[in-house]
């Protein structure tokens, strides 16, 4: 899960390691760090914003670690949904209870259906839908695509996913 934290550090050299060490000790991966030297507080501390990926269950331990190091935590933000993909479904989507399909994705806790466009040319004919799924990370996105694929198989819907991209743009994309 991606976390953003606003912290305050003492304005002394060597303080940053009190932030970085606990994060890396818990397997976290830092995406961005900004030192706001120009925004020193009246408490003579320097605001720091750090964005990193870490397992959600280690978050509490991290907070304790930071506080023990004398780092003040001003704000913790969970940036939940940052991976996105589109899936195309074709078949009797309406008859097979669309709500249930969406609920199954939303119920995972790590992914949700963000957008759905539906085209129904005839009441008895097959309909088509593009479903936009967002998830907390690439792995979670893959899992939710897997769930949707299973639903599609169960309901005899044609399931069309993006070509899995290998480092080039398009397909699965990360979003802040």
């Amino acid at each position: 899960m991606r976390i953003s934290m606003d912290l305050e550090l003492q304005d002394r050299p060597g303080q940053l390691k009190h932030v970085l060490t606990p994060i890396s000790d818990l397997g976290g991966n830092i995406a961005s760090i900004v030192h706001h030297h120009d925004k020193k507080t009246f408490r003579n501390t320097v605001p720091v914003s750090v964005i990193f990926d870490i397992e959600e269950q280690t978050l509490e331990e991290l907070q304790e670690g930071l506080e023990k190091n004398g780092v003040a935590i001003v704000r913790i933000g969970k940036m939940r949904l940052r991976a996105r993909t589109h899936i195309l479904l074709i078949g009797h989507i309406i008859h097979t209870n669309l709500r249930e399909t969406i609920d199954e994705i939303d119920g995972t806790g790590f992914a949700e259906v963000q957008d759905l466009s539906l085209s129904m040319p005839a009441i008895d004919g097959p309909s088509s839908a593009v479903i936009t799924i967002m998830a907390t990370g690439d792995e979670e996105l893959k899992k939710s695509i897997g769930i949707l694929r299973q639903i599609a198989e169960r309901k005899d819907l044609l399931f069309i996913e993006p070509l899995d991209e290998r480092g080039s743009p398009g397909g699965v994309s990360n979003e802040e």
């Binding site: 589109h86 074709i90 085209s119 097959p126 088509s128 044609l158 069309i160 993006p162 070509l163 397909g171």
Partner: protein, 324 residues
């Protein structure tokens, strides 16, 4: 090889569109002599190519002997058997016997016929090896688009991690027309049948069978997979609706039938409009992912008589080069 150093002798087994294409283009190539042509009705021995092509086009028989295709392969002394009978995915015959007999008789084989390779890839490559001859099949995948020899020769210095491709021109034509002209599947299929792009029974193409055959050949050739048809997970394009294509387009995607060689899958996929695999019309395209050279994408004409014959000729000429 056993024949004279200067001239390469070949037989053409199968005289449909591809066989006629081969006969047409080898006329302009020095040091190649066609010693026999076999169609389903008989064999033309030492044919005058212009004459047999004219006869074939006029619906007249080409045979001038009592030989069969197998007689040619077994008894006429020549260098290369060009096996271009139609692909039969149920067991690969008659092509499989042709190829097998040619290799056993120490003749090189160049083929556009997927059937024998899908049915017995390992057996045939082994047979070629033990008999000290070549089995070349550039024309089986992607028609004129180079892929087999591109990977084997030009990309020899890189390890291939995966190959993904749009490998069936009929499907690609149908999907392109549906998306661009907002036409229904049935409408475009009839149009394609009218134009000779799709067969009267389009199943082989639209159900993804043809693409699966190409996936099998590439998987066996480059990943040593020993794959057969049952190993490939195949979904065709026949359920795709025009609305679905429009919805995809609004999101910046085209839908293409993609064969993934490493995964052994054939299925429609969403491809970003700007992606190099998003080729239109009857074109084929393949992306080759390598360890050191990154991703390399080729595109070209995947079918057609002369186009496929060009791939066969390139295999024949490479045999000629290897000989000197």
């Amino acid at each position: 090889m056993r024949n004279s150093q200067s001239t390469l002798t070949l037989s053409i087994i199968g005289f449909g569109a591809v066989g006629q294409g081969v006969a047409t283009i080898v006329q302009n190539v020095p040091h190649i002599k066609v010693v026999a042509i076999a169609d389903s009705k008989g064999v033309a021995r030492m044919p005058d190519l212009n004459d047999v092509l004219a006869r074939k086009r006029g619906g007249q028989p080409i045979a001038n002997s009592n030989l069969t295709a197998l007689d040619v392969i077994r008894t006429i002394d020549h260098d290369v058997v060009v096996e271009v009978t139609p692909t039969n995915i149920q067991g690969g015959e008659p092509g499989l016997t042709h190829v097998r007999e040619a290799l056993k008789n120490k003749r090189n084989v160049v083929t556009s016929n997927k059937g024998p390779l899908v049915a017995a890839f390992d057996e045939l490559t082994q047979l070629a090896y033990t008999n000290g001859v070549a089995l070349r099949y550039e024309a089986t995948v992607g028609g004129a688009m180079p892929i087999v020899n591109l990977i084997r020769d030009t990309l020899a210095g890189a390890r291939v991690l995966d190959i993904r491709g749009v490998l069936n021109g009929t499907c690609n034509y149908i999907l392109t027309r549906m998306a661009e002209e907002a036409l229904d599947y049935d409408q475009v299929l009839s149009e394609a049948q009218d134009m000779g792009i799709a067969e009267a029974d389009p199943t082989y193409d639209v159900a993804g069978i043809d693409t699966a055959c190409k996936v099998i050949i590439l998987a066996n050739a480059f990943f040593g997979r020993h794959a057969t048809f049952a190993d490939v997970d195949v979904t065709g394009i026949d359920r795709i609706t025009q609305d679905a294509l429009q919805l995809a387009r609004q999101r910046g995607f085209a839908v293409k039938l993609v064969g993934d060689v490493q995964e052994l899958t054939v299925s429609p996929k969403l491809i970003p409009i700007a992606h190099p695999l998003n080729v239109s019309g009857t074109l084929n395209a393949a992306s080759i992912l390598t360890d050191t050279a990154g991703e390399i994408t080729v595109a070209g004409k995947g079918a057609g008589s002369i186009e496929t014959a060009s791939a066969i000729l390139s295999d024949v000429l490479s045999l000629m080069r290897d000989r000197t």
